[in-house]
Amino acid sequence: MTQPSEHVSVQVEVNGRRYQRSVMARLTLSDFLRDELGLTGTKVGCEHGVCGACTVLIDNEPARSCLMLTVQANGKQIRTVESLASGREMSPLQACFQKHHALQCGFCTAGFLMSATALLEEGQPTREDIVETLSGHYCRCTGYSPIIDAVEEAAAKESS
């Protein structure tokens, strides 16, 4: 059996770039992204899978990177908040977050953005869909309704 501190080799694609690394078997995916790749946009708020701050997309599905080991992401495609803007322009979803004042401290924001991005890619969510999906994320600052408004407007923009 592999020991937790033994190193294993992983290959992942993160934000369109391929990486081949040797990592500790017990290294969490969130620590890998943040500490090994320097992608600190992904935040860690609880390390036990509840707050949603660490959410990234793995093969287009939202996943909590604090609950995953890096080795579990071997061979997969990962997207983080750093991938959302294109060139020097924020994504429509990011722009709607600013417009609706859907962030204050910004610590929860990457997680919300990633789950909402997956939701928007799936189709045209209703307000209820948005609430159901994003209720798996905590935000302590905004009281949530501006986040719902932001995602709703981004959904409307996408369909128009």
Partner: protein, 786 residues
Amino acid sequence: MSFPHSQSPSIAARSIGARVPRGDDPRLLTGRGQYLADIVLPGELHACFVRSSAAHARITRVSIDEARALDGVVAVWTGEDAAKFCEGIVGELEVEGCFATTMPLLARDIVRYVGEPVAVVVAESRYVAEDGCDLVDVDYEPLEPVLHPRSALEGGPSANEELPDNVALRGGKVLGDVEGAFNNAARVIEATFHSGRLSAGPMETRGVIASYDWTSRRLRLWTGSQMPHYIKYCLTAYLGFPENECEVLTPDTGGGFGQKAHIFPEEMLLPLLARELDRPVKWVEDRRENLMTATHAHEQFIDIAYAFDSDARATGVRIRATGDGGAYHQPPWSMGVEPWCTAMVTPTGVYDIPAADLIYEAAATNKTPIGAYRGVGYMAGTLVRECLMDDAARAFELSPFDIRRRSVVREFPWTNPQGIVYDEGSWLQTIDELERMVDYTAFRERQAALRAEGRFIGLGLSVFVESSGESTAMGKAHDLGGIYHDTATVKMEPNGSVTVTIGLTTQGQGHRTTMAQVVADSLGVPLEAITVRAAESTTYGWGSGTVGSRGAVIAGGAVLRASNVIRTKLVALAASMLEADPADIDLVDGAAVVLGVPGSSVSIIDLATAVYFDQSAWPADFDPTLEATLAYDPARPIFSNGGHAMIVEVAPDTGFVTVEKVFSVEDCGTVINPDIVEGQIRGGVVQGIGAALLERLVYDDSGQLVTTTLLDYHMPSMDFSPPFEIHHLETPSSHTPGGIKGMGESGLIAAPAAVLNAVNDALSHTGTVLHNIPITPEQVLRALRG
């Protein structure tokens, strides 16, 4: 006494009042924010804490050899090691009847709450540091835990032998003819309340990085603190780091809400470790530690009674507020501020009640120390006052609006029995406005119709007045010690751009945007030309802390005073260049213009350039310094006010409560940026809904904290978030810059009472009235089932 730094110049609101989008957002939205854990120093070590697993015990042995021997572990310290440098942090509240405690940096001999730091392991990586903690073995000999504040105050074992009778705070006052009021009362409405133990729960936990250079004796400490200047002061006073070589840096911070407005042992230990080990040391708190050891908040037992005359006017109040304080005072706010504020400040609220008997007390218990959390003292005080108002409304068969109108203060200035003077307010208008917003008659009809179908909705009301812009004058008015002032620097460069530094840190409140709006209106420059730095380092400015709803008022005042110095110079220069009277010059839309003379203007950019490069344009005696640092501290206490009405539905089968809608009225004087004010309201109200319905830190009978994950400590998620209707009233203060008042705490101050009242209204047919929060489904079901 009046001082120049209490006078703030006037300002014409142009950008002030606009919904300016936050300049910080693109950075934060694209993952470029730099929060504490994102900072990596070359060669940094990682610290991890061994924490007490016992509520109250004697430490008989700490064995650290195995941990020390682990590959990658650099150091292990216990209480003895830390005590060589510092005996502990002394805490108390500067009021009558407070008794100090000393909190060790690492426990020695005795542990006094679960989670108290006992040892620290420093290693090459966080992973190894945690392995090292697992290898530290601590033997405990149990002592009896003290867990109930009111019985603790009656005697028995002590929670902390520094306070043998467990009294950390005890005092009070009788003001006016309380006996008379109660003897002559037509009715006395009274109850005992318990408001649960809370965590402020910022999404970013605490954390510290320390770096020390022995050649210069230079210490740099990163912490997401709301009070970096105070932290720096503690590092110099307790640990002897040289003041001139000690810098506290504040990165982007993921919320604070009062929890990050304390000095913590971890913030004192890391600099010592960095100095002794000669390497930078980093500690990032995990969530379990945050729930267990970052300050707890708000828990109190409160007995309160109001005397009412036959016209349903409140004539007297008696209150005894008891805080469940935890094992130590956590400086600077201590376990005292919560019950002290509840008893001494809040019982009269917006009501003209002439007589008050006020008792405050805090008991030491073997729990995590209580500290500040948004609306400290005010939330519980508003809960009990406003809940009894609704109880009284039912007793007198009046509407919740009418009962409040009977007693509300209508004329200003008004002095309450505690001697606090309120200069202005829209206290009556708030009640009227909320009644209009909820459409009270229609609500009662809908409630009756739904009740007939077996559905239970309720309406709850809660109105408040809040001290804002915490200041020296505010402290004096409340017989509290404390001197406050904050500085700001405004600097204009040759191209007319402006850099502003303020002494207040920001945790998401958007100060960089609101302060830029103030400067834009003062100097007539566009927002894009202004950069605001919010106390990113103690090298700049002085700040008394982002606490007490003071950001907008205090930073606003300091910024306006400093920018007015620049303004005066630009005006003098423009007057000379345009051959006009300075009194006729205004700075607007990027130019200095001569009022009444169309076409006579010079751009701010040209003025700035002339200051730096064209002496021939200067008037006589011109001083070209385009940089000013000034302090501000308002001359008088500032109070904002408002209220919330909430409609809730209780589910008869599950006992769950859903908030259907929130109506909020806020009067924080001149609103700088409505988006930001509304954001503060919504965020605070949802925290209040959490406090009223969901959140509670629970200790078992042995003093173990059983809520140590976010699954057990249940904060509101999006499905708990109600729609809001927000209405602004504007009663400007005549003492603050532009009439601004603070409001950061109001949502949490008043929301729990509105929820509790709404639930009681929904249950009114059952005859049961609930007085404890959080309101659990069990309580609701018990009420419904009789």
